[in-house]
Amino acid sequence: MTATALARHSGALAQRSLIKTLRTPEALIDVTIQPVIFLLLFTYLFGGAIADGDRHAYLQFLLPGMLAQSLAMGGVALGQNLNADIEKGVFDRFRSLPVSRSAPLVGAVLADVVRYLSVCVVMLGFGTIMGFRVETGFVPALAAVALSIGFGLCFCWISVWVGMLVRTSGAVQGIMFLLVLPLAFGSNVYVATETLPGWLQAFVQVNPITPLVGTIRGLLIGGPVAGHLAATLAWMAGLLVVFVPLALRAYARRA
């Protein structure tokens, strides 16, 4: 299979996923309404207490972190959908066709761009209504969106792998949330790392969400970016190197 065949077949299969997404817009709740609810909840319910009454300052701090967290959670649905496809036998048809082995997975991942873009647009759009302001400029903000989508595309391969391994799509969700929730909350998303006990700070330091949040914060409200960005890119490469082969192997083994 040549690279062009892989691109062509992945493109056709990505289009299939997009058609499915457009036909079932309720499947986008986890990347639209859900992050907004989190944003409202934390800003107005806890924000005042956490930031000593300055809700606006907290929103500026929180929104980049919520964006990163929503990207990680947004990947969960992909593994569930792929698992359901396999259970329904739809993938048998693809596997009986002369398409590149990885095309069904690559195509599905590519279509997830739409979901991660939704997260960015909804968070920044609704955040603006709530009073969030980009303090850097258009280009850094665009870079933050591009990096977010890129991170989402790398991180979701964990979900793809789990989707290939377990029996039901419900189990995919359960396992992925067991993984994503500690990463989302055991991070610098909600509070500054310095306020945490030492052992938790250690976890936050090795959490891939932490450098991503740092980078997005820097790109949206200013602050150091380079170090966080390097760490984020390293994590993205690492996720791909580890989980793409794992997912492909699990897919090949799944009868």
Partner: protein
């Protein structure tokens, strides 16, 4: 015919596959001649689906070899995939996509251009009487329509070899006949069809040759008539025009009865009285009976040699299987 290797479009030898404690395939040999229909007949769990999945490159066997359209399934699965169409036991169309979108997607994956894929989709939808439904999501289709779309999807690439895994399970009799028509038309176009079925009637109606599978093994491979003959149990039945002559007929039939049997008046439920039957060992009996009946002046309205039904064949071959499990 087995020695003419190039004539075999499917050839499998010694296929074995184990799932946990279940030996799904326990040394299966299959041979299908080009341009014919091979019926793989067996009860649930016999290994039919596993065999099809191996031949269609979806599953690697633990042991054995298989060639489809002359290509090694294990060494060159992508080449095999270019030559086959597969319709699984459960309709594997994408429910969120319309009929058109389902078929266009398959076309694109077979490297047709967008336009070619669209034309082929329209052509197949028309052929399967799904043109009107083509713009609707497949989840709105009835069971029969879904099966038709699934079958259409397997024909997009005009495959040389078509695998149909229980294509009519769950369809009503009229829809089943439609499906049979499709199979016949594919053979007329030059394709070869391997179909698995639990319906003896279906194998009898469609298959040039039948493989009977049970517990992961092939227990017979023959034509439908050959299978019936192998089991033996041919019956010669004679109905005299004048019912009064029935005793004379019984006397004539006794003379050709298979060893240890005698002629009897037909008493089976549903059969009209006034006829007599006798088990015979070969159809030569017919040649002996006709002149004898003429000699004693008995006119007949029915004189026929009956082969056993495939049901009877199956029961004889598998022994333990009950009819309820088959249909």
């Amino acid at each position: 015919m087995r020695h003419i290797v190039e004539d075999l479009v499917v050839r499998a030898e010694g296929l074995r596959k184990r799932f946990g404690k279940t030996q799904a395939l326990d040394g299966v040999d299959l041979a299908m001649r080009r341009g014919t229909v091979l019926g793989v007949l067996g009860p649930n769990g016999a290994g039919k689906t596993t065999a099809v999945r191996v031949l269609a490159t979806l599953l690697r066997p633990d042991e054995g070899s298989a060639f489809v359209a002359g290509v090694d399934v294990l060494k060159n699965p992508q080449e095999v995939r270019r030559r086959i169409g597969l319709t699984g036991q459960y309709a594997s169309v994408d429910e969120d996509l319309t009929g058109v979108q389902n078929l266009v997607l398959i076309g694109r994956l077979l490297d047709l251009t967008g336009k070619q894929a669209r034309l082929r989709a329209d052509e197949l939808l028309a052929w399967f009487e799904l043109t009107e439904a083509g713009q609707r999501p497949a989840k709105t289709y009835s069971g029969g329509m879904r099966r038709r779309l699934d079958l259409a999807a397997s024909l997009v690439g005009r495959p040389e070899v078509i695998f149909l895994d229980e294509p009519t399970t769950g369809l009503d009799p009229a829809k089943r006949e439609d499906m049979w028509g499709v199979v016949r038309s594919q053979v007329a176009r030059g394709a070869s069809v391997l179909l698995t079925t639990q319906y003896l009637e279906e194998a009898d109606a469609l298959a040039d040759e039948i493989v009977v599978v049970d517990h992961g093994r092939v227990i017979a491979h023959d034509t439908a008539d050959g299978l019936k003959r192998r089991v033996g149990g041919q019956t010669l039945r004679v109905r005299p025009a004048d019912p009064e002559r029935l005793p004379d007929v019984l006397h004539v039939l006794d003379a050709v009865a298979a060893p240890g049997t005698t002629a009897t008046k037909d008493a089976a439920a549903g059969s009209r009285p006034g006829a007599a039957s006798v088990p015979v060992t070969s159809d030569a009996a017919l040649g002996d009976v006709v002149p004898e009946l003429r000699r004693i002046g008995v006119e007949v309205t029915e004189l026929a040699l009956h082969l056993p039904s495939l049901d009877e064949v199956f029961h004889t071959l598998t022994g333990s299987v009950k009819a309820e499990e088959l249909v």
